[in-house]
Subunit: 233 residues, 2 copies
């Protein structure tokens, strides 16, 4: 693995960011990995997945950065960071779900652009998904295109800075298939919003993930509560 990077990849430890990294790893000379902790319920488990995925790709320690965005948690306003707001079960309904963390992707992308400027990298990568996603406003393609314009105009790098979102138009089942094609280390990923030992199988994130594997016709390699399918006993 090279000691310099031309790409900064946001890696939460979940399925989507892992597949995004697998794509960047193929397309770029060197990758730098950015992970954020912001007081979310499953922060320690996501960090463990981040470390394992970074090890899998032999990314040098100086090209890994963990940001403390705990002020996002202290601001409140999301079921992911506020223990008083329950994490909902089932698929998301209409409107913005309670698990939305306000403008989190704006913050993460800004931090990635900052680091890209320092590293003289010319792209940042984010694993957001619009179509099959959960209604978060900061996962829309229109937001990402506008943010890319802002990043080009507001950084020293200028026109050469790209904000890449290779999954934004894919369905979850297509992401699972792409992950297999690219040999992404899917058993190392973590998507559950609630649990940290075995995945709950019932929160929005687990249900979207399980549906993706089911539609792709392959088994999800991570462990779920109860009967191992995520559907409970």
């Amino acid at each position: 693995m090279p000691r310099s990077a031309d790409a900064v990849v946001l890696v939460s430890g979940g399925l989507d960011s892992c597949v995004t990294l697998a794509r960047a790893f193929v397309d770029c000379h060197g990758v730098a990995l950015l992970h954020a902790t912001y007081g979310q319920r499953t922060a320690a488990r996501e960090r463990a997945s981040f470390d394992a995925i970074a090890d899998h790709y032999s990314v040098p320690l100086e090209l890994r950065l963990v940001l403390d965005l705990s002020f996002l948690g202290s601001m409140g306003g999301s079921a992911l960071t506020d223990a008083r707001v329950p994490v909902p079960e089932g698929l998301p309904g209409k409107g913005v779900p309670t698990t939305y963390v306000p403008f989190r992707n704006g913050l993460l992308l800004s931090a990635a652009v900052s680091w890209a400027e320092v590293l003289e990298a010319d792209s940042v990568w984010i694993g957001v998904v619009e179509e099959d996603g959960s209604g978060y406003p900061d996962c829309r393609e229109s937001f990402l295109a506008a943010f890319e314009s802002a990043a080009r105009l507001g950084s020293r790098t200028g026109e050469s800075m790209r904000v890449l979102r290779p999954l934004v138009g894919l369905r979850k089942s297509e992401i699972v298939r792409l992950g297999f094609e690219l040999h992404a280390p899917l058993p190392l990923t973590w998507s559950c919003y609630r649990s940290t030992e075995s995945a709950c199988g019932r929160c929005e994130s687990c249900i979207l993930r399980l549906r993706g594997f089911e539609e792709a016709g392959v088994a999800d390699p991570i462990r779920y509560d109860d009967d191992g399918t995520g559907h409970g006993v």
Copy 2:
């Protein structure tokens, strides 16, 4: 002062953000103040100015937030956060100066939008100055317009979210005059990049500030090294 806010104002403790706050205080029902520390040399002095300005406007404690963005410092890449890079003297030359902190305003604005969403505020205010500024890419009007589009598309608030930059097209002397008109507490502000007791009078930021007061035909109320004019003895 109301206990709720319709505006989030970024307040560094410097002249420009103080005048921006004075404007927002007149135009809005309630203001919330966001300050960031990121490992810059004069962080403690800027924080003291922030506190004094917030007290001046009687902003309740729950509407003040201090963000720790120290990862910006650990990323390096700027004379403001890296003790090995000297802070230059004199007016900035061509190109992006070494005091540029990569994409800092993207980060600050993203944090402000996050908090605005939580508070149900519909505007964020930033005291950036393009014309008479120091060549930072993230102070350009074009960047701010693009960022505003991104903020609208990427937040729950949508079209009602505004990114206000009332000083962006002003010269420093016009900002000084506006500050006097709006009774902004200019003696409480701090602009120097290097010193924390009396201002050095020689760094880029001091020189731009002193020139602004001189062109406005008024005395700068803060204390400078040496002979008190910022020009040395």
